[in-house]
């Protein structure tokens, strides 16, 4: 087995007395495409945000390349540059053009010069099919276009792992299609991804690892074939029964 990039051990998160995550364990290896599924409020997004330290985990370990970040905190900024994130609400910088959005992180965080940053940004914008729109501002784009730019922005940082927090939940079916197509292509190219999603067909077809969460715990995890086709867990079966197998 290849070296693990990320290992999550006994992670828990509470907001006041409200326990959102309980004793979460799992790991991510290079090339893994992990889909996290489950009902809203089951803690999926919080888990992803904890991995990126957008939320501070309450207890447990997050081990990145053998280094326990909960005890030995590396620079948050340089960690986040390696573990990128794509949001449900895109969060593109409204004051910048599409191109600037994809360049600013490379220039300010990775200290690349303008030419290199631009070339790199164009490469990834090309990949998500947004290259013609480099001069547009986010408010001039549709949701699907914004999300594809957001993916390009995250990719331009050349992260080791890319976290997707419900990337298609704010989109109409056609836009969902364009975004998922991009993500499918990235998966085929071997990008390591963790995806919180409600797109069951995508989880089944594209991922190599599915995690089903409910009430802040991992109920079942395994290969998509097993989870979707042959789950023995009553909770998982109940949840997936609403998803018409197509």
């Amino acid at each position: 087995m290849a070296e693990k990039i990320l290992e999550i051990r006994h992670l828990s998160k509470t907001f006041g007395k409200n326990v959102v995550l309980r004793d979460i364990d799992f790991s991510v290896c290079p090339g893994d495409v992990t889909c996290i599924i489950g009902a809203s409020g089951s803690g999926k997004s919080t888990l992803l945000r904890c991995i990126n330290f957008l939320e501070e985990p309450t207890a447990g370990d997050i081990v990145y390349h053998g280094r326990n970040l909960m005890e030995d905190r590396m620079n948050e900024a340089s960690y986040r540059a390696k573990v990128g994130m794509v949001f449900q609400s895109f969060n593109l910088f409204n004051n910048m053009t599409v191109l600037k959005n994809c360049m600013v992180g490379q220039m300010k965080v990775l200290k690349k010069d303008k030419e290199t940053a631009k070339k790199n940004a164009m490469y990834y914008l090309e990949k998500v099919g947004m290259a013609p729109y480099i001069n547009a501002k986010p408010r001039q784009l549709s949701g699907g276009q914004k999300q594809r730019v957001a993916i390009a922005r995250a990719l331009a940082m050349e992260p080791e792992v890319l976290l997707f927090d419900e990337p298609t939940s704010a989109l109409d079916p056609q836009m969902v299609g364009e975004v998922l197509a991009v993500m499918r292509k990235l998966a085929e190219e071997g990008l390591t991804m963790m995806i919180v999603t409600h797109e069951m067909a995508f989880a089944r077809d594209v991922s190599n690892h599915v995690v089903y969460m409910a009430n802040g715990v991992i109920v079942e995890e395994g290969e998509p074939k097993q989870i979707f086709g042959n789950s023995q867990n009553p909770q998982t079966k109940e949840f997936l029964s609403r998803f018409v197998k197509g």
Binding site: L54, E56, Y79, N94, K108, A131, G177
Partner: protein, 264 residues
């Protein structure tokens, strides 16, 4: 002495137009510089006041931040809470009497207006920062930007746009409020007008001229700022960076089809 009102106004303009212009120039200089420095102070205070404090930070950093926050809050409250005229007297004469600092009148004028504007702008900037969607901060954090980079590159440019009307407000207030500096002997428009009026004993006529000048100054500034605001918004349309404008770049994917479709 002309017998009509307008005749007397013309006579004053004829004799004292240079004095009025110089007074208006001083007023504008103090208002512009004071507003600019005030904005810089406001932005600096705004950035510092929004530094997030998390429990994982070490104790020294938290204590230092606490102290800085307290000092900044005190600054804002004291300068917002006392009249500028009293501050002018206090600073100008107090600095000479207590600290034996002989401030030049110019320095005192710029200092007082800047520090006052700064106190107001600090709150305005804080409001501007709060008005920006937290998602913008998260987006910046997620690509590894630190607080300062996030503020300078992402939040401030957007906050600046949102508080532009308030900056304009402050500039106009400053143009008018520089007249309180006449109390420490700053020869601005009000002081000049008062002198002219006293010399000729023509108060109504002199202040008519002053009012017109003040109005021209404030009105011009507010129009210029409005135009600038429009510019900050940028154009409503954009050019596609492709020679083939009929080529669509969205909606060409199918899902789930299982087959790869390369975009061409």
């Amino acid at each position: 002495m002309p017998t009509t009102f307008w005749g007397r106004v013309l006579m004053l303009l004829d004799g004292y137009s240079m004095s009025f212009l110089r007074g208006a120039g001083v007023t504008m200089a103090i208002a512009l510089v004071g507003t600019f420095i005030g904005c810089v102070i406001g932005f600096a205070v705004g950035i510092v006041q929004t530094i997030p404090v998390s429990k994982s930070d070490n104790i020294v950093k938290r204590i230092i931040l606490k102290i800085i926050h307290f000092v900044l809050a005190a600054y804002v409250e004291i300068f917002r809470g006392t009249p500028m005229m009293a501050q002018a007297m206090f600073i100008y004469f107090g600095s000479a009497a207590v600290f034996h600092i002989n401030m030049s009148m110019w320095f005192a004028a710029f200092f007082i207006v800047s520090i006052n504007t700064g106190a107001y702008m600090a709150e305005t900037v804080r409001g501007g920062i709060l008005s920006i969607d937290p998602g913008q901060t998260e987006g910046a954090k997620a690509i590894g930007m630190n607080h300062f980079q996030t503020m300078v590159n992402v939040i401030m440019p957007q906050a600046l746009r949102n508080i532009m009307p308030q900056i304009g407000n402050n500039l106009i207030i400053n143009i008018k409020d520089t007249c309180v500096l006449s109390i420490i002997g700053t020869v601005e428009l009000f002081y000049t007008t008062n002198g002219v009026a006293g010399a000729k004993y023509l108060y109504f006529e002199s202040f008519t001229i002053a009012m017109v000048i003040y109005f021209i100054l404030t009105f011009t500034c507010s129009r210029i700022l409005r135009w600038w605001e429009g510019k900050l918004d940028g154009p409503d349309n954009f050019d596609l960076a492709t020679t083939d404008t009929l080529k669509h770049t969205s909606g060409m994917y199918k899902y789930p089809s299982g087959t790869k479709e390369e975009e061409d």
